[in-house]
Symmetry: C2
Amino acid sequence: MAVNTQFSIAVHMMATLGVGCERNGEMTSSELAESVNAAPSFVRRVLSKLSKAGLVQTRTGKSGACSLAKKAKDITLLDIYEAVEAPKAFAIHSYPNQKACRVSCNIKHTMEKVLDKTQASMEQSLAGHSLAELVNEMKKP
Amino acid sequence: MAVNTQFSIAVHMMATLGVGCERNGEMTSSELAESVNAAPSFVRRVLSKLSKAGLVQTRTGKSGACSLAKKAKDITLLDIYEAVEAPKAFAIHSYPNQKACRVSCNIKHTMEKVLDKTQASMEQSLAGHSLAELVNEMKKP
DNA sequence: TCGTACTGTTATCTTAAAAGTAACAGTCTA
DNA sequence: TAGACTGTTACTTTTAAGATAACAGTACGA
């Protein structure tokens, strides 16, 4: 896997915290790691980003734990996407700025404009879904 | 670079063919490769996909060449995106289907639903731009 | 107050996918 | 029929993601 799964893992973690079967939504990173099926250290790294973005609260020290920092309905998938700094959907290849060809000279800028729009529309779609939606969906029998 | 630049390269190639400065839009793969600044063989591989998707015409044999198979205005960026089979914008991490946890059991399906929507909105955005738009943009001084 | 059980961070190793490279088979035309 | 293309495949290199592990920092509680 060289594909980026951080976003998907982050959403899973947040959803797990949101459902919060045990101890009113508080879990340790190891518990989370087990639930998400990823390395504990990797989970902690993602957790750290989520925490810096103000999406989860953490308590250090003995009996430390993590929990959502806001209500699930106030967290969108875009928040999570931005928090984990997932890579852009598209990459533009690099040019050494070709000599005389008009295409090479202009395409980069043109491409960027189009891809930015596309990226924006994707992010808007993510913004349209709250974590609460997922949690509710998952609480169904 | 482990990021996928095939889409961006394909668009560049198509745009170059669309502008078609020389020989009414016909170019050899080596010319294209030079213009796009990528390995000729890689260009040919991408070209092959575009050709299979019916976006470019190729002529084999001596004095072979490539050109657009349709008018630029009838080719959308989505066509190109689909032709090169670029990876999905998001990947879902794999689970060994956790035991008792309701979250693990349901989240995969729920995530897929959401991410499919997101992917769709992105593709719709791509569908909204024709190659002709890019070409015109680039012909500007 | 000291050990313990956490979080948070960093450094290093492993792995997988993308792009680069090259070689060659197939095709056509001049 | 030789030469200049396309089309394909096999192999190598590169790079970024994820796994792993080790350790520093923090707070609780016995």
